[in-house]
């Protein structure tokens, strides 16, 4: 069964350092999402791509976060500099299209701890 791949699974870093997460969606999925899930809360969308274009990044803290999907396939989410409040699970998901009926398939996530 096709999966969304994410790496690293776990990352511990000190505040002010840079950190990057990588996501490889299911082949053929045009829409890619990055969600942030703080412990005990529901996921919140950070950025949504349609192919290589950003569709929604309204909740992305753009002073420190950046995301790219250069060739419309895999994607990288970067945080620089990391802050204590960035400790969370970063989830990547993909779907065939971005209309409401299309189901999102999630990766296992990247858990970030900022010390």
């Amino acid at each position: 069964e096709a999966e969304v791949a994410q790496s690293p699974r776990y990352k511990i870093t000190e505040k002010s350092q840079a950190v990057a997460f990588w996501c490889d969606p299911i082949s053929g999925h045009a829409t890619l999402y990055w969600y942030r899930q703080i412990l005990g809360q529901g996921p919140e969308l950070l950025v949504q791509f349609q192919d290589e274009s950003v569709v929604d990044d309204s909740q992305l803290p753009k002073d420190r976060f950046s995301a790219e999907r250069l060739k419309g396939v895999d994607s990288t989410l970067k945080i620089q500099p990391a802050e204590l409040g960035d400790s969370a699970m970063y989830l990547c998901a993909s779907s065939y299209k971005s209309t409401g009926a299309n189901v999102l398939t999630f990766g296992a996530g990247s858990r970030l701890t900022v010390l």
């Binding site: 969304v4 999402y33 996921p43 349609q50 929604d56 989830l91 409401g100 189901v103 999102l104 999630f106």
Partner: protein
């Protein structure tokens, strides 16, 4: 903006018994989709069940069924014959029908299954 509310932070059920998880949502849209996702400990989020708002018939998937009350904006999940493997965090989520719209999650309900 659409919001999703899960009023039960935690629920417990005895193995083989039935449990219902509650969800309410707020929207002014008439066409949308509702989802229940399951997130087991340290594992990826997976889709449990999906409901199209234009369908009056409640969705069912094996032991999982929903009670969709559109006028009341309520979308509860019933798990019958609960199994130990059902223990997880359950998220209710909403998505508008249109292109490019994000999945909005509730805060989640932790389900514990007792043997």
């Amino acid at each position: 903006a659409q919001t999703v509310t899960q009023s039960q932070p935690e629920m417990s059920v005895q193995e083989a018994e039935t449990v219902t998880l509650s969800c309410t949502y707020d929207t002014s849209e008439s066409d949308y989709y509702l989802f229940w996702y399951k997130q087991p400990p340290s594992r990826q989020m997976i889709l449990v069940i999906r409901q199209e708002a234009y369908k009056q018939q409640n969705a069912t998937e094996n032991r999982f069924s929903v009670n969709f009350q559109k006028a009341a904006k309520s979308f509860s999940l019933k798990i019958s014959d609960s199994q130990l493997g059902d223990a997880a965090m359950y998220f209710c989520a909403y998505r508008r029908w249109e292109y490019g719209n994000k999945l909005v999650f509730g805060a989640g309900t932790i389900l514990r299954v007792k043997s």
